[in-house]
């Protein structure tokens, strides 16, 4: 399941979505707002997304992960809007019968999300400047 939200990500809810007696492994990845990037200090991030395409792309990534690995459940959520230091911007939860599939699929989903899903972050630097991040 793929979702966008402007509210704080509820990791407990996400874990409940993927927990099942059929699974022997649950992996949760969180991407969080980091204070320092290459020595520059961040106070907050603003995320903007092209929502319909971001969701479609997240669903395509989920389908690819399910085709590559034998997964029980997969849930991915990205937050949009204004985030303070330490808050989670993205979460991926995966369950599988054995741990290898859940670890590998979780890594695949976050790696693909970062290069494909149309969402952008804007740095709010400690000195007051703002800057769109475009790798």
């Amino acid at each position: 399941m793929a979702r966008l939200t402007e509210q704080p990500i509820d990791t407990e809810e996400l874990l409940q979505q993927v927990r099942t007696p059929a699974a022997g492994a649950v992996v949760l990845f969180l991407g969080t707002v980091r204070e320092f990037t290459r020595g520059e200090q961040t106070v907050a991030l603003d995320y903007e997304g092209f929502a319909p395409m971001a969701l479609a792309e997240m669903e395509r990534i989920e389908a690819e992960a399910r085709a590559k690995w034998e997964l029980k459940e997969l849930s991915v959520v990205h937050r949009l809007g204004h985030l303070e230091l330490g808050e989670a911007s993205v979460a991926v939860a995966v369950s599988s019968a054995h741990r290898a599939a859940a670890f590998e699929a979780g890594q695949f989903v976050i790696d693909e999300l970062k290069v494909r899903v149309p969402i952008w972050k804007k740095e709010n630097w400690a000195d007051g400047r703002t800057e769109w991040v475009h790798p």
Binding site: M53, S89, P118, I119
Partner: protein, 91 residues
């Protein structure tokens, strides 16, 4: 004699995001695109001529038709929903 359709510019509405939106100050722009056929590649060229603020991003701009990435070869007719944005940085 009227000009053939192929050289008449096609108006294409383009949704902009992130830095592309900030540089133009607009979330939705209309670009007159000429080409035979009209493609994302010809849109890219017309876009930076008509919105020179976007020229520094020209080579790196990404395009989508509907909710799918498009390439410079993708043919458009002005009726689809087109989006244009810089490289993504989510996560």
């Amino acid at each position: 004699m009227p000009a053939p359709d192929s050289i008449r510019p096609v108006p294409v509405d383009v949704q902009l995001f992130a830095l592309a939106k900030e540089l133009t100050g607009q979330a939705l722009i209309q670009v007159a695109v000429t080409g035979e056929p009209v493609t994302i590649g010809s849109l890219r060229k017309s876009l930076v001529l008509q919105f020179p603020q976007l020229a520094p991003l020209e080579k790196r701009l990404l395009f989508a038709v509907g909710t799918q990435y498009a390439t410079d070869d993708t043919v458009i007719d002005g009726r689809q929903s087109v989006a244009c944005f810089p490289p993504v940085s989510g996560g």
